[in-house]
C-alpha cells in the first residue's frame, strides 16, 4: 500500500502529469490557452511514430511467434471488452441499445496517449516491456468499432438506407486509419533497421519524447476539461461507469498477459491498453456509422473521466498489481 502511494506520488510529480494538470487548470479557469490544431496533430504523429519505432527496435531480439500470439490476444481483447462494456451499460446502467453500443466501441478500442504515458512511466523506472506491445496497440485500435456496429443491430432510421455499402467502406477505412499505419509502420521500420536505425534517429525518437509528451498532455488537459464542461446534460450515474470499467478492462488485460507469459512491464502495459478508451479515432467513426448515438456521452466518458483516472490513479495501480501478479 505504501508502495502504491509512493508510486502514485512519483507519477503525479512528473513533469508530464503536471503538464496535464496545468492544461486542466487552465481550462477550468477558462483561459484562452490553446495548442494550435496542426501542432497537436503533428505531436500525435510524432508520438505514434516514435513509440512504434522504439517498439520495433525492441522486437529485434524477439521471435515472430511471440508476435503472432500477441496479435491474437489483442484481437480477443478487442472482442471481449466491448461485449463486457455493452452488457454492463445495458444491464446495470440502463442505456439504450445504440448509446450502449457506441460507448462499448470506445472502451473496446484503446487510447494511445494513455499507452505512451504508461510506457514512459515504465521507462523512467527502468522496467522493461515487450516490444510487440506496440503492435497490440495498433491491432486493438479499430476492431471494436465493428463490434460496436454489430451490437447496435439494425438501424430502422430511413436516413440509414445507404448504410450497408458504407459499412464496407468503414471496415476498410478503420483497417488503414492513420494511427494504425503510423504505429505499425514505425514498428516495422524499427524492426527492420534495429539498433543501427535507432542510432540514426535517437535524438528525435528517444531524447525528445518526454518533452513532446508534456506539451501533448497539456493539450489533453485542456481538451478533457473543456469536453467535461461542454457535456452539460451528462447523466451523473454514468460517471461511475467511466471509473469502474477501467479496472475491469485491466483485469482482462492481466488475464491475457498471463496467457501470453508477459513480463511485469508488458502485463502492466496490456492492462493499460485494456483499461483505456478511445477518444480520437472512434468518436468520428461512430458519428458516421451510428449517427443516432449521442457522441457527447461516449467522448465525455472516455476523455474527461476514464483518461484522467487512468493517468493519475491507474498507472501506479496497474503497476502495483502487475508487480504482485507477475513478480518484481
Amino acid at each position: 500500500m505504501t508502495e502504491l502511494l509512493h508510486l502514485a506520488a512519483g507519477n503525479l510529480l512528473s513533469p508530464m502529469i503536471l503538464a496535464f494538470v496545468l492544461g486542466a487548470v487552465a481550462a477550468a479557469l477558462r483561459s484562452d490557452l490553446e495548442i494550435p490544431e496542426g501542432a497537436a496533430k503533428a505531436l500525435a504523429i510524432y508520438l505514434m511514430f516514435a513509440i512504434g519505432f522504439k517498439g520495433g527496435v525492441a522486437m529485434h531480439a524477439a521471435s515472430g511467434l511471440a508476435l503472432a500470439g500477441a496479435i491474437l490476444a489483442a484481437l480477443a481483447l478487442s472482442l471481449a471488452l466491448p461485449l463486457i462494456a455493452f452488457a454492463l451499460l445495458r444491464g446495470v446502467w440502463q442505456q439504450n441499445r445504440t448509446n450502449a453500443a457506441a460507448i462499448a466501441a470506445h472502451y473496446g478500442s484503446i487510447s494511445i496517449v494513455t499507452f505512451v504515458t504508461a510506457a514512459e512511466f515504465l521507462r523512467s523506472r527502468d522496467i522493461p516491456y515487450e516490444g510487440y506491445l506496440v503492435a497490440m496497440t495498433a491491432v486493438m485500435e479499430t476492431p471494436a468499432i465493428l463490434i460496436g456496429l454489430l451490437l447496435a443491430g439494425q438501424q430502422k432510421n430511413p436516413g440509414m438506407q445507404a448504410r450497408a455499402s458504407e459499412r464496407g467502406a468503414l471496415f476498410r477505412e478503420v483497417l488503414v486509419n492513420g494511427s494504425v499505419m503510423l504505429l505499425m509502420g514505425g514498428f516495422a521500420i524499427g524492426w527492420i533497421t534495429g539498433d543501427a536505425g535507432l542510432a540514426k534517429i535517437r535524438p528525435f525518437v528517444a531524447d525528445l519524447f518526454n518533452g513532446a509528451l508534456c506539451i501533448f498532455l497539456l493539450d489533453m488537459g485542456l481538451v478533457a476539461v473543456r469536453q467535461g464542461r461542454a457535456a452539460r446534460s451528462f447523466p451523473r450515474a454514468l460517471i461511475l461507469f467511466g471509473l469502474v470499467m477501467p479496472p475491469i478492462g485491466a483485469a482482462c488485460g492481466f488475464l491475457a498477459a498471463a496467457a501470453l507469459g508477459l513480463s511485469t512491464g508488458g502485463a502492466m502495459l496490456l492492462a493499460v491498453l485494456a483499461a483505456s478508451a478511445s477518444y480520437i479515432a472512434v468518436p468520428a467513426a461512430m458519428r458516421l456509422a451510428l449517427p443516432s448515438a449521442n457522441p457527447s456521452l461516449s467522448v465525455t466518458l472516455a476523455l474527461a473521466i476514464t483518461f484522467p483516472f487512468n493517468v493519475a490513479i491507474g498507472l501506479p495501480l496497474y503497476l502495483t498489481l502487475a508487480q504482485r501478479l507477475f513478480g518484481n
Binding site: 490544431e37 436516413g159 440509414m160 469536453q227 480520437i280 458519428r287 458516421l288 449517427p291 476523455l303
Partner: protein
C-alpha cells in the same frame, strides 16, 4: 450572358463530409467547394473545431447547381441525413458559363 442558378450551402459535422459529398453528386451536383474548418453555434451548443477528435468539427460545403437539383437537395437532405448535425439553405446566384453547373 448571365444565367440564373441556385447556390446550396451546407454546414455539417466533419465525419459526414464524404457521405454528404457523395450524395450531392448522386443528386446531380457537378462541382463543390468545401471549407474544412468552421466553428459554429446552435442547438448543439458551441462546436469549436479544436477538439482532438474530428467528431465535433464542422465543415461548410458550397455548391452551385440548377434550381431543380438545389430544390431536391434542400427537400431531401434532412431525410437522407436524419441524425446529422447540419444546417442547409439555398439562394439565387448568376453564373456566366451555364454548361458548368
Amino acid at each position: 450572358m448571365a444565367h440564373p442558378r441556385k447556390k446550396i450551402e451546407i454546414i455539417v459535422e466533419a465525419p459526414l463530409q464524404k457521405p454528404v459529398l457523395d450524395w450531392l453528386s448522386s443528386q446531380g451536383v457537378k462541382g463543390w467547394s468545401l471549407f474544412p474548418r468552421v466553428i459554429g453555434g446552435g442547438k448543439h451548443g458551441e462546436r469549436s473545431g479544436d477538439d482532438i477528435t474530428r467528431a465535433f468539427d464542422n465543415v461548410m460545403i458550397v455548391a452551385v447547381a440548377t434550381e431543380a437539383v438545389a430544390r431536391a437537395v434542400l427537400d431531401n437532405f434532412h431525410t437522407r441525413f436524419a441524425d446529422a448535425v447540419a444546417v442547409v439553405y439555398i439562394s439565387d446566384v448568376e453564373v456566366s458559363r451555364a454548361d458548368r453547373f
